[in-house]
């Protein structure tokens, strides 16, 4: 058993950190929050040049044949630096789904573009029902000769406003078992009938409303199996949830470091506030939280990479890390005092993102229910 990164992974991590420290400063993060129509193109371009968007895809599709664990390392550093942009939705949510379930034609059509950063994708999963279970999927796709017609609204779709393609989860059959009758489509975002509106969110991230009005999609753009897409959704969800955890761990770690630094420097009553026990104890609780979050995330990521059963571990990680990130941000704010609330300070950036990350791919309550259902079979050590 070994929790450490190997030498190559450590190099990747360090290179990513150094790169992002330089290329993704707080100013860029703030600019992008305000920008409703664009994403950080220059940063994206540099990330693609480093091979990040192609990291996890085989060489034959223009990638570099890296691993899932490599991606989690990158994503953690992105979480630390609050990198804006469509990396997660493009590479993890949609790219991995195409790699896993696409026909050879689909892989050839999409993966090289994803790998070289020219194609951006967004996952249109959640709806106004705001749930992650199969029963929450209702947007219908109706067969019409060689096409399907999609009507309905998807909500909270990250990055839809810049996506070239949407991976849309629809209902092609409606019966008693809601996990049956689900089909995923790769939809050109320029198709007539699609209207994308960015929502105003707490974190300034670009979650969108996507309205489909008689949007026509060819049958050959079905990803995976007709009516039998729920297992693919579950897989996307698993990778999405773990990637979200990695991103959160990166952010939480930065908050911890920032807070400890501040506690060492800020003086009140003639001494650094970090010498007061109350502040020390708050910091001790923060690192306890962050380390636990990191290790359960690593465990889930590793099991996923090994192809081991891990739905329990993923649910545990997402539930725990979601609450940790929020708690750590609150503690960070508490130690920083009022300065942390100012827009110039980074503390509030993490605080707002922590909530967005907590909610994405299921919050703690959602995952506790998943855990409980598995506990019905018992809880072996």
């Amino acid at each position: 058993m070994n929790f450490e990164l190997n030498e190559e992974q450590e190099m990747l991590r360090k290179a990513a950190r150094d790169f992002l420290e330089k290329e993704c400063p707080g100013l860029l993060v703030r600019e992008m929050e305000m920008d409703e129509s664009d994403f950080p193109q220059e940063l994206w371009h540099k990330m693609t040049e480093l091979g990040w968007t192609g990291l996890v895809f085989p060489e034959k599709y223009g990638g570099t044949g890296g691993s899932w664990l490599d991606i989690t390392i990158l994503v953690e550093e992105m979480g630390r630096a609050l990198v804006p942009g469509p990396f997660l939705s493009t590479v993890v949510h949609c790219g991995l789904a195409i790699l896993g379930a696409g026909t050879e034609e689909q892989k050839q059509e999409f993966l090289p573009g994803i790998a070289n950063g020219e194609m951006l994708l967004a996952l249109a999963l959640t709806e106004p029902s705001a749930g992650y279970d199969a029963g929450s999927i209702a947007v219908p796709a109706t067969a019409d000769k060689d096409d399907y017609i999609i009507n309905g609204t998807k909500l909270f779709v990250a990055n839809a406003y810049v996506a070239d393609y949407l991976l849309c989860v629809t209902r092609t059959k409606d019966g008693a078992n809601k996990e049956e009758g689900i089909t995923l489509f790769l939809i050109d975002s320029k198709s007539p009938g699609i209207k994308v509106t960015p929502l105003k969110t707490m974190a300034g991230d670009k979650q969108c409303e996507v309205v489909f009005e008689n949007v026509r999609v060819p049958k050959k753009k079905i990803l995976g199996k007709l009516d039998n897409g729920w297992p693919l959704v579950e897989k996307i969800f698993a990778y999405g949830a773990v990637a979200q955890c990695a991103e959160m761990v990166g952010g939480a770690q930065r908050v911890l470091e920032m807070t400890v630094e501040y506690a060492k420097q800020r003086e009140q009553f003639g001494q650094p506030i970090g010498s007061f026990q109350a502040v020390q104890h708050a910091c001790a609780d923060m690192v306890t939280d962050v380390n636990g979050a990191r290790y359960v995330t690593c465990e889930a990521a590793w099991r996923l990479s090994e192809g081991l059963p891990c739905s329990m571990e993923i649910a545990i990680a997402k539930a725990w890390v979601s609450e940790v990130y929020r708690r750590v941000c609150l503690a960070g704010h508490q130690v920083h005092g009022a300065i942390g609330f100012t827009l110039d300070h980074d503390m509030q950036l993490y605080f707002r993102r922590a909530k967005e990350a907590e909610l994405a791919f299921g919050d703690a309550d959602f995952h506790k229910e998943t855990i409980a259902r598995q506990l019905a079979k018992g809880f072996p050590l």
């Binding site: 190997n6 400890v260 104890h281 636990g292 050590l381």
Partner: protein, 393 residues
């Protein structure tokens, strides 16, 4: 990054688990909280069991081979400790001798001390207790005052120890004393290996909610030979700290809690309230999930300590993190499992209508202890903040 156990480690766990399944009776609930009626039976069992383990060579598996052990790796030691915790620690008080008194003697002892003590520990022939805390020296252990004054070939000990677990069963005691009152407190401490039958020692049980667990140990002109100092005179603090390192393997009680959770899940599936099984109540389900999460987080933090040690790295503050989180979660576990059981949770083992063999009641009674013993949560937070995060003292 690798979260797996090796094939050998898995094989060892399987063998050990099957052995414990066979040898540890279902009625055994550990020695931490004991009522009078189960006291003798429990102690007798742990003594017998420790001897059986000793005969198998498993009691001192972690010791170096030259001292009769099998040089078991850190991960194997972890697995053994985890399995023992799952079975509520059937080694009883013998785990102290084998887990850290022995290794400390191996690390600091003279050849004579090793000859005198190690095989007795290895054969489960003696029980050790730990003379650390005093009425005026708890968290501030270095301020201990039990005095050891040189007298010819001996030292004369006077003073009092408190919270000494199982002293009334112990044959020997590792005891921290003050040999030099005129230097800064950490530098005037010596550590002795003391025979509990030495004239002048009086042991008095301190009844507590845990049963007859704690004792006071009074020392009235107790004569201890000079050759019984472990390590160097006045360097005892550092020997004591080094010995405590042996115990810092993570917070393994989660394994016992995992077992209780498993039984609790069955209970919620079998017990009806308001016309349906408890398990169907979403509030109960959320609580069960929280318990599962906490167990796994404790396990991950403990795995971390074990894997660092297995790579030859001192876990440092990570050991404190594991202890802090694990003990505070333990308290939360106890309360939540009580909440799930409602009125039935308070029924003691042996009572009519008691469920889960009264384990939840027992765990609840025990639950304020782990955040106090072995370094309070406050001390752990101090260590994490200063040693771990570099915050100013």
């Amino acid at each position: 990054m690798d979260f797996s156990f090796t094939a050998e480690e898995q094989a060892f766990r399987k063998e050990l688990h099957n052995y414990l399944l066979k040898e540890v009776p279902d009625w055994f609930g550990g020695i931490f909280v004991l009522s009078e009626d189960e006291y003798d039976r429990t102690w007798e069992f742990t003594n017998q069991f420790a001897r059986k383990l000793a005969q198998k060579g498993w009691l001192i598996r972690s010791w170096p081979r030259e001292y009769g052990g099998q040089g078991a790796s850190h991960m194997e030691q972890f697995i053994l400790a985890e399995e023992m915790a799952y079975f509520y620690e059937p080694r009883g008080a013998h785990y102290m001798g084998s887990n850290w008194v022995g290794p400390t003697i191996i690390q600091f002892g003279t050849e004579e001390q090793k000859k005198q003590h190690l095989s007795a520990i290895a054969n489960a022939e003696v029980i050790w207790c730990q003379g650390f805390s005093e009425p005026d020296a708890g968290s501030d252990l270095a301020s201990l005052q039990t005095r050891a004054v040189e007298d010819g070939d001996d030292y004369i000990l006077n003073g009092q120890k408190v919270w000494t677990s199982y002293a009334h069963h112990a044959d020997r005691c590792v005891i921290g004393t003050r040999t030099d009152p005129d230097v800064p407190k950490h530098r005037g401490i010596s550590y002795f290996l003391m025979d509990m039958k030495t004239p002048g020692i009086t042991v008095r049980v301190l009844p507590s909610i845990f049963g007859s667990h704690f004792c006071e140990v009074f020392l009235d002109n107790v004569r201890v030979p000079k050759r019984n100092i472990l390590g160097e005179k006045n360097r005892g603090w550092y020997t004591m700290m080094a010995s405590m390192e042996y115990e810092r393997g993570g917070y393994l009680h989660y394994a016992g809690l995992a077992r209780i959770l498993d039984e609790l899940i069955k209970y919620t599936n079998e017990t009806q309230r308001h016309g349906e099984v408890l398990f169907n109540n979403p509030l109960i389900r959320q609580k069960l999930a929280e318990l599962a999460i906490g167990i796994r987080v404790t396990r991950a933090l403990s795995y971390r300590v074990a894997e660092m040690r297995s790579r030859g790295i001192n876990p440092g503050a990570e050991a404190s993190i594991a202890k802090l989180y694990g003990s505070e979660f333990h308290r939360h576990f106890a309360n939540t499992s009580m909440q799930i059981m409602g009125l039935y949770g308070q029924l003691c083992r042996g009572s009519k209508w008691a469920a889960l063999k009264g384990r939840v009641e027992r765990e609840y009674i025990w639950s304020p202890e782990p955040t106090v013993a072995g370094g309070t949560s406050e001390i752990q937070r101090n260590i994490i903040a200063t040693t771990g995060l570099g915050l100013p003292r």
